[in-house]
């Protein structure tokens, strides 16, 4: 049957291209909520750093960027940015920027950064299509592309403005895996090399590359154990590993890690094992079997002993670094809380709660095991990969909320396999009606309603079954038309609900820039609470360029990006001691804090206070983490227990402990707050009435407070002119003033 002068095969591929294009369009547009609601702005915290470095890269050149020593963060230590950053993201957007500018398209770098993640999500959909097509067929691939295009688990990290490594890394992950499967299937060194190339890109883009360099060896190992060693496997893995490792070592931040840390040892071990097996295979083909048996046993034994002892010796002698803390926390969820509070303090490092699986993946999470089961049934080499990926990613997603991101792609792939299998079974007209010589191709009827991106295949199924109904009605039971219709309608309904859920989640949960808050006014119009930018812009314009701002590390990147001022600590969190010092300053009394601040040349202190507005993510709520981190380094000076009441409660009202009330964090938060209420202030976050006494600050003075009091900036006073300590000085001033006012009366 010819349509548009094309034979069915070409029709199918044309349709595939169109459908994929539409899926890509949907993937991009469903991520634009925040631009439409707010504006094209960089979100949250880390993206601000990425944005800042990208701007730097665009303004200077690559070598400048590579050698960039950022003296405006981690004051007074500074940060070697070029060597401590995964440059893939910045280089990608800078490349896009430069190409566009070379073609006279002066697109602002901010817009490129904002739209990079949605753009790459379209690529991810295509990569998912390719990968799933390798697993099953292209119709499963289209389903997988549609799923990953809208799955909230991935959208959460790739909405417009969320300019972070993950935005491009998921595409690279999927594409690397696709290339790996391809090279394994074909035993092609070319595809192995391509895998290595994209692996290199991935290494340059995200720390999660470790997942690839462990999963692929695991896959190889499983295949070997299953007795599936082949020259294809040997060629694919050897070319991938050697090239990939060499290339990955070009990234300064990674450097010699691939040869020196435990995370990379599995890959090296498997590489060795493959060589041995290949050698053994070679020997076997040349020797008689009994000779071979002896040789084989001896060889295996000796090589195992040497490799293992070499590993142990190298680890003990310090050549191979033992696993890092973040990795331990992957095995033992309680580890971080005990030893590295800084990791535990990040909410995205918490273990995942059950509902969030459903929230992020909806029905896919139920179809996921079905897809895995189908993989077991077929169990070709690539299916082993899906199974292994599924199992490991499920485990990691359970340990850390953040790793839900790595689980999402495989869930999409696996569920797509399941649904596609279901549709195949229920749409296979041949079973029903053997006489029908020309079955209506499924793919052909798809485009009629392609605007329903996910529901399309099932909808077309519904139409085609309807047409059938007229012809035959004698079949009942599982292959009867009514049963089919019921099942298909059911799944059509599920798919529609899925899309609806995904859109709802995206629009409600994942599209807030978090630097801008929105609320409704009494008349229903939108009111934008823009306190963060108000205060940052004030800092940017009205403080000296050399001002040093002390704040909790969460705001470090934002201050650097929006206020363009030097910070003490930021979201890079590489130096725990420095962070603990800031924590100590925040949690100690004025004179102790003043000394710390003077020593670090601090001119301004910035805190977030949500009490007036009821903004719960403020510094008083984070205060316990500051105390804990400070206590970890300065156990003699800061004690968490002192901040709890006798009954073990964390209070800010009349029952707050003396240590709490003396801490500068408490004082700065509530300074002048009582006066606003003309009596006792009401803290709307913690639902507490504040103590009535006036808070006196002698070493700090309020420099700026934003409209809704969310951001408060304090200026650190200079030393007193005549050498008094500042407390005495301000007491003296106050005394003088009160005496003077008395005189007037």
């Amino acid at each position: 049957m010819k349509v548009l002068g094309l034979d069915p095969q070409h029709q199918a591929s044309l349709l595939k291209v169109i459908i994929l294009g539409l899926i890509a369009a949907v993937a991009i547009s469903s991520r634009l909520f925040s631009i439409i609601r707010f504006e094209s702005v960089i979100h949250e915290f880390d993206p601000w750093f990425n944005y800042r470095t990208t701007r730097r890269l665009v303004q200077t050149n690559f070598y400048e960027f590579w050698n960039w020593f950022d003296e405006r963060s981690w004051y007074p230590l500074g940060r070697v940015v070029g060597g401590t950053v995964y440059p893939g993201l910045m280089v990608t957007s800078a490349t896009i920027h430069n190409i566009l500018h070379a073609l006279n398209f002066p697109v602002d770098i901010r817009n490129i950064c904002v739209l990079l993640a949605p753009l790459f999500s379209a690529f991810t959909a295509i990569a998912a299509y390719l990968l799933t097509s390798e697993m099953k067929d292209s119709s499963a691939g289209l389903l997988a592309a549609a799923f990953i295009g809208v799955a909230p688990g991935y959208i959460s990290r790739s909405v417009a403005g969320s300019y972070d490594n993950e935005g491009i890394a998921i595409f690279l992950l999927m594409f690397t895996f696709y290339l790996w499967i391809k090279s394994l299937k074909e035993g092609s060194a070319f595809f192995g090399g391509l895998t290595a190339l994209f692996y290199f890109y991935m290494v340059a883009a995200w720390g999660g590359y470790v997942f690839i360099i462990n999963l692929i060896p695991l896959h190889v190992f499983a295949l070997i154990l299953m007795g599936r060693f082949s020259t294809r496997l040997y060629v694919a893995y050897s070319s991938f590993y050697v090239l990939g490792t060499l290339m990955s070592m070009q990234i300064p931040f990674v450097g010699f890690q691939p040869t020196r840390t435990s995370e990379h040892m599995a890959a090296l071990g498997i590489f060795g094992l493959l060589q041995i097996i290949a050698f053994v295979e070679l020997v076997r083909s040349h020797l008689a079997s009994n000779q071979f048996q002896i040789l084989f046993k001896g060889f295996i034994f000796i090589s195992f002993v040497t490799m293992f002892s070499a590993l142990v010796i190298l680890t003990v002698s310090g050549y191979i670094a033992p696993w890092t803390g973040r990795f331990y926390s992957l095995w033992d969820t309680g580890y971080a809380k005990k030893y590295i509070p800084i990791i535990a303090s990040v909410s995205e490092h918490q273990p995942t709660a059950w509902p969030s699986f459903f929230f992020d993946l909806e029905m896919l999470i139920f179809l996921f095991p079905a897809g895995i089961y189908l993989c077991f049934k077929e169990l070709r080499d690539e299916h082993v990969f899906v199974i292994l990926y599924g199992i490991t990613a499920s485990y990691f997603a359970g340990v850390m909320v953040r790793l839900m991101l790595t689980l999402t792609p495989i869930v999409c792939v696996s569920s797509a396999i399941a649904i596609s299998r279901l549709l195949d079974t229920y749409l296979d007209i041949n079973v029903v009606d053997p006489e029908t010589s020309e079955p209506t191709p499924v793919v052909e009827s798809k485009p009629k309603d392609k605007h329903k991106k996910v529901g399309d295949s099932s909808r077309s199924a519904a139409t085609s079954t309807k047409a059938e109904k007229k012809k035959k009605k004698q079949f009942f039971g599982i292959i009867g038309n009514d049963t089919r219709g019921l099942i298909l309608l059911n799944f059509f309904f599920f798919l529609v609900i899925f899309v609806w859920h995904c859109t709802w989640v995206t629009s409600n949960a994942y599209s807030s820039p978090s630097i801008v808050l929105a609320s409704r006014q009494a008349d229903g119009s939108q009111y934008i609470i823009d306190d963060f930018r108000e205060a940052y812009y004030w800092l940017r314009k009205n403080t000296d360029d050399s001002a040093k701002v002390m704040s909790w590390w969460d705001y470090g990147y934002q201050i650097a990006g929006m206020a363009d001022r030097t910070t003490l600590v930021d979201n890079n969190t590489w130096n725990n001691t420095h962070i603990a010092t800031v924590g100590k300053a925040m949690s100690s009394s004025e004179d102790v804090a003043y000394e710390i601040m003077r020593r670090h040349d601090v001119t301004h202190v910035l805190i977030i206070f949500g009490g007036l507005l009821g903004y719960s993510g403020d510094d008083i709520n984070k205060f316990l983490w500051m105390i804990r981190i400070a206590e970890g380094v300065y156990p003699d000076d800061v004690k968490e227990g002192n901040f709890f009441t006798a009954r073990g409660e964390y209070r800010v009202d009349d029952e707050a402990t003396p240590t709490m009330r003396k801490s500068i964090m408490y004082k700065m938060s509530y300074h002048n707050y009582n006066e606003l209420f003309g009596g006792q202030g009401q803290d709307r976050v913690r639902g507490a009435r504040l103590p009535a006494e006036k808070i006196k600050l002698s070493t700090l003075e309020e420099a700026f407070t934003s409209e809704n009091w969310i951001v408060r900036i304090y200026k650190v006073k200079d030393l007193d002119n005549i050498g008094r300590n500042l407390e005495q000085a301000s007491a003296f001033e106050a005394g003088k003033k009160s005496r003077r006012s008395k005189k007037k009366q």
Partner: protein, 421 residues
């Protein structure tokens, strides 16, 4: 000679009415008007017109002699001996007043000092003269009027000087635009003129004493209009302005409102934070306006753009104004006519979307600009309508090349060995 010094805004405006008589025996066509050089460097604007006919006379800046800057006024006709002529010299100075005391509290009163010459500046013997000083409101120590008169003085020698110092209350924000960049982009394709104005503003009033207290700010809301704090701004845009936006370096600012009046569109906006003395703020806003409102096609085959040089902002003084006119790609033979002298005029190339050889860019720089400069200036150029086709042609060629390359590429064989079928 009667002089009025208007101190009711930060930009000091002086208007001098001169009755001059030719005491020479031959007809004279010029008059030298002196300004002390301390003031002359703040001079932003000077215009001379005859009282009777309202005709403007040409003014030229000439030599600096003995700390006095002379301006040469050319009458439009020669003055016969013993004939009198009455003309008015209007000048405007920026930064001619300074706040004293330098620092005031958040809701404090701001006082300014003006220092100048009590006599009118004259290079000639003056028979009779007086000086008026006009203030914004009666706020001068021990006097209850808003106009002070000095004189009249009789028979003053040329260059007579006695210090005049006025210390008065001025309860308004003192705004200085350190830099203004106006981008005017003409598109014949869209029939559109895109305007974008980048402001770099400083509150030059008495500095805020100590630090800003939000508590005090909120508690004194009802007297905000009496303080020197600047919070609300208002600019008038052309009536048919559309797509108005208001942003700053870190994104959109949501505190703005747009309202349509009969012959203007009014943009009211607030900076992110209120401005106190010594505080800075930068922002930009932009809008589109139909090209026909400002561009005319003249019979001579030239297009003429006629548009105000600046859009005034609350009596602010502009230290530096840069107007960039981006003409369509292919515009040629460009001429700029301005009603006042410009510090610098440069021509260049600007490349933007879908450009191949780039657009014609004219950059006009002027220092020390005040409201009086919001007069229209003209840019005329020649433009061939065929140039309109350039963009689609370039884009088409680009894609054609892409497809051709792809065709060639897909027909080539790259594999090393023969593919096994």
């Amino acid at each position: 000679m009667a002089r009025t010094i208007d101190l009711s805004s930060y930009v000091v405006r002086e208007s001098t009415a001169v009755v001059s008589q030719n005491v020479h025996t031959e007809p004279v066509g010029e008059y030298y008007f002196p300004i002390p050089d301390v003031l002359a460097e703040h001079l932003a604007y000077i215009e001379v017109k005859e009282k009777k006919t309202d005709k403007f006379f040409a003014v030229e800046k000439v030599d600096l002699v003995k700390w006095t800057q002379y301006y040469k006024i050319y009458f439009d006709h020669r003055i016969d001996p013993q004939e009198k002529i009455l003309f008015i010299v209007k000048t405007a100075y920026t930064h001619a007043v300074t706040p004293y005391p330098f620092e005031i509290a958040q809701t404090g009163r701001q006082n300014l000092i003006y220092r100048g010459n009590i006599y009118g500046n004259s290079a000639y013997y003056t028979e009779k003269q007086k000086t008026n000083v006009k203030l914004v409101k009666p706020g001068l120590v021990s006097r209850n009027t808003n106009i002070i008169t000095y004189g009249s003085f009789s028979d003053q020698e040329p260059g007579a000087f006695d210090e005049l110092s006025v210390h008065y209350e001025f309860q308004q924000a003192i705004l200085t635009v350190k830099g203004l960049r106006r981008d005017l982009e003409i598109s014949h394709w869209g029939g559109n003129l895109a305007v974008e104005e980048h402001f770099n503003l400083t509150h030059d009033g008495a500095k805020l004493k100590g630090q800003f207290s939000r508590l005090e700010y909120q508690q004194t809301q009802f007297i905000h209009h009496e303080t020197t704090m600047a919070r609300d701004f208002l600019v008038k845009l052309p009536a048919r302005a559309s797509d108005v936006y208001y942003r700053d370096e870190i994104g959109n600012v949501s505190t703005s409102r747009l309202r349509n009046e009969r012959d203007t569109t009014v943009l009211e906006f607030r900076p992110r934070y209120p401005l106190f003395g010594g505080w800075n703020y930068t922002w930009h806003y932009g809008y589109n306006v139909p090209l026909g409102d400002f561009l005319r096609y003249h019979k001579s085959g030239r297009y003429i753009l006629n548009i105000p040089f600046i859009n005034p902002l609350h009596n602010a003084a502009f230290d530096h104004v840069q107007v960039r006119i981006i003409l369509p790609e292919g515009a040629s033979n460009v001429k700029v006519e301005t009603p006042f002298p410009i510090s610098r005029e440069t021509h260049g190339v600007h490349k933007t979307y879908f450009d191949s050889k780039g657009r014609y860019l004219v950059v006009l720089d002027k220092f020390n600009v005040v409201e009086e400069h919001s007069k229209n200036f003209q840019v005329s150029y020649e433009y061939n309508s065929l140039e309109l086709l350039r963009k689609p042609l370039v884009a088409t060629t680009f894609f054609l090349c892409g497809f051709l390359l792809n065709m060639v590429f897909s027909r080539m064989e790259f594999s090393i060995g023969k593919k096994v079928q």
